[in-house]
Symmetry: C2
Subunit: 494 residues, 2 copies
């Protein structure tokens, strides 16, 4: 096992270096007029990683490791992930990889213009090609018997279309009913306070204060600004996040807390796994469960604001001094159907995802034609959210994912919400007083629970094993429904 | 030639990546408690560079290129530099390289403590080992017949001990005489104004303004803060500098201008050389000539301050509003023997270097024993500068270089001053009105001259060829003497 561990550790390090090249470009090169040199450097590292993965040496190291019996949990997982990485590289012909890269580069630009100009037609040929290339990729990888499941598996290892559909299908009517119920309330929150002006520099400074209290470790990480917020590991002891100060308030703060949740996961991985192939979150869904837990469950709770609101008032006295905390808390928990996924509240969010999940399945199975998308999108949108996007820019053209070739990624976002509610339910069972902690600015007991039960294991356990280990059962969306009911009925006076 | 160009371009890119890993550590990881992961990443890239250099492929590519006749200047230089890089890697046994790295890591730490505690004795064994390893390295490289020349050649390709000694020896008494003459003046500058308090953030902001005026291109570079100022290329279109706000004033500003000089050199290299092995300054001495030209010749000239002083007064009205520009200009040109090289003025600076040059020669030739160093240092210091360091911290222990194993580096600093004066003399011959430019904040004509004659060529021409091409003669220290006489006699009322 030692040779396998060491061989793949070198790849992990190359991946960290690649992450630095990317982070630096996003954070430090915003004013640069030319980043071609950086692209060449990134292509070079990518090539080196690929070469190492498809080498005979890698294949033989894996073969030898497979002959070893009696592996412990860590070694089993290390072999599993090494094999997974090797298979992903060796099964895809180089021409296909290059074709996907090239198409994605052009599709990205085309999508941007199409979105700007509300011109879906111009995007059709490239989206068609992207879908065909992804189908081809799935055929080559053959991880599952159906193509869409193979693509999903890239982001949520072990998950399949059927498994997710069995979860999403029954929750869909429950969610739409719930949204209608909230909509029918006479006591809806007023969020106009969030559209006032809040000084960006003060927001950034305040986000630092919050990070410190949430136990983000500035001795192994930093927060900077970038166009799009993200979390990235440049080392096992170097997990950085970014934020931005966009409207409405407090999306800089909730964004920071979201990325902090991702970072705390990566920062909590046990030392034994550092620099190995297992030193990363186990799936996109589990990762998202951590970011949403801190952003939504903690960061939009009344207890959280009981502690933080006075500080917010000190930072923004003109806006908040005469504004009651309870109303502010209701404002940031305003639930309402809206067009843009990334701006959606935590209740309607799942419906945005289910829409995309169903469309992706149809596209990959060739039951939906790309040219039908706008109409299909709008009718499904009305069915799920009761409103119709006025144009494609606010509809089918809004997301970056498809242009990038990320088909199968979307469902992990909503899985994140579902995992999150179930994890948090278990955390509360073990320590019912957690919310009381937040009132006094104490967030370390929750973090301890997450570290002990989730973070430390990195990628040792797959998502479905992990949720069973931690909560005693398979993923069960009832916890999410219970969570939103318990939270939003009082806010809506129901 | 194409295969050679491409093969070594990949190495250039790996070197840029290594530079980013280093830059990021210096600039962004100051608060980190652990940088071991970063060290591992740097070691990995270093290993990859080494492997590529010593490969059979590299050797054969070079052999094939050597058989080609009729190469133009660029191809000739490319082959020369490729061969030089290859030889440096292939001639040094791996054990020696590792031993040097290990020793340097320990020697560094030991030196730091020794300097802190003024305890030269504790540094003796490691300095002895360092010297022995450097001797060994020189024996293996065999670039020149004497060991010290081989080490000098690493930093100043083509230069030898004899050549430098022939330049330094005659200038030594001229310099000491000149310093004595200034010292004898009754009209010495008063530099107490520089020891007042100047807000660090304002200094940093002001340094930006100056960079813009000096045509530092923020679209292919940036300035950040670090413990020690430095310039580094992370790409052919990405040349970054750092500064720090230490006392006395205006060392943040002069430091920024110094690094800007280095950066303008790298930024001015012709496009044809981008990403190739020639895309870097041709020697440490030539590089230093550019940084010192901007820092000293321009940045400490009366014309420069004629333009900038009103801005400085706006930034620091309490200190400067009632202080005349002429006095301020004299203050920043105060010449006086002092103990610390990096704080020395541009006249005495050369004497600090000559001292080290002579000592290094003795150490490498085993004519000086390490244990004799403190005494020897102090007596030579008195001979050259007329004062005796009160302790080794202010004497033989002050520099980082020897602990790092950089023997042969020091002479390039003073060569930089000498090259600089000779280049500037030619620039003035072509355009005598350059200093008038500075009075109106116009620095682009000087830059144009430097770009046309020096910068664009990168490493195509070696230092000795370059100075001849540009000025029509070999390096001649008379230009430096003439420069300081013309500048300092008026300042000292002589």
């Amino acid at each position: 096992m030692r040779e396998l561990k060491e061989y793949f550790t070198e790849n992990t390090r190359l991946n960290y270096i690649l992450a630095l090249l990317e982070w630096d470009q996003q954070v430090n090169m915003m004013n640069y007029k030319n980043v071609i040199g950086r692209s060449e450097q990134m292509a070079l590292i990518t090539k080196l990683i690929h070469k190492r993965l498809v080498s005979n040496e890698a294949g033989e190291i894996i073969k030898r490791a497979e002959k070893l019996g009696d592996l412990n949990d860590i070694d089993t997982a290390m072999l599993r992930e090494a094999k997974r990485a090797y298979d992903q590289e060796i099964k895809l012909p180089e021409e296909l990889v290059i074709e996907i890269q090239k198409t994605s580069a052009i599709a990205q630009q085309t999508w941007q213009k199409a979105r700007q100009k509300n011109d879906f037609k111009s995007f059709i040929p490239l989206l068609e090609k992207t879908i065909e290339l992804q189908r081809d990729k799935a055929r080559k990888l053959e991880t599952h018997s159906d193509l869409y499941s193979t693509l999903i598996d890239l982001y949520e290892p072990g998950a399949t279309y059927d498994w997710i559909a069995n979860i999403f299908n029954p929750i869909k009517p429950r969610l739409t009913d719930f949204v209608k119920k909230l909509e029918s309330s006479a006591e809806k929150p007023d969020d106009s306070i969030l559209n006032k002006e809040y000084d960006p520099d003060k927001q950034f400074k305040l986000s630092y204060e919050i990070l410190e209290k949430l136990n983000y470790d500035f001795k192994q990480g930093r927060q900077d600004r970038s166009t799009h917020p993200f979390t990235t590991s440049l080392g096992s002891l170097d997990v950085r996040i970014t934020t931005r100060t966009t409207e409405p308030f407090p999306s800089c703060i909730t964004g920071t807390i979201h990325e902090c949740g991702h970072a705390l996961y990566e920062m909590g991985i046990m030392k034994e796994l550092h620099d190995t192939i297992l030193c990363t979150g186990t799936s996109m869904g589990i990762h998202e469960s951590q970011s949403r837990l801190w952003e939504n469950v903690v960061g939009r709770s009344k207890e959280f604001w009981t502690y933080w609101y006075p500080t917010f008032q000190k930072y923004f006295p003109e806006n908040l001094n005469n504004y009651p905390m309870e109303e502010f808390h209701r404002a940031i928990n305003y639930v309402h159907p809206s067009f843009i996924r990334v701006e959606a509240d935590e209740v309607t969010y799942g419906l945005h995802i289910i829409l995309r999940f169903e469309i992706e399945k149809g596209l990959i199975d060739e039951k939906i034609q790309v040219k039908e998308l706008p109409e299909l999108w709008n009718s499904k949108f009305e069915e799920l959210l009761g409103i119709v996007p006025p144009n494609d820019t606010l509809g089918v053209l809004q997301d970056v994912h498809w242009g990038n070739g990320y088909i199968g990624y979307f469902p992990t976002y909503f899985l994140g919400n579902l995992y999150c509610a179930q994890f948090y339910n278990s955390a509360l069972k073990e320590n019912p007083k957690l919310p009381e902690d937040y009132k006094s600015g104490e967030f370390s007991n929750l973090l301890k629970y997450l570290r002990n039960n989730i973070h430390q294991y990195g990628s040792i356990y797959r998502a479905n094993d992990l949720i069973k280990r931690v909560t005693g059962e398979d993923l069960n969306p009832d916890y999410f429904m219970k969570y939103i009911e318990t939270k939003f009925y009082p806010i809506y006076g129901l």
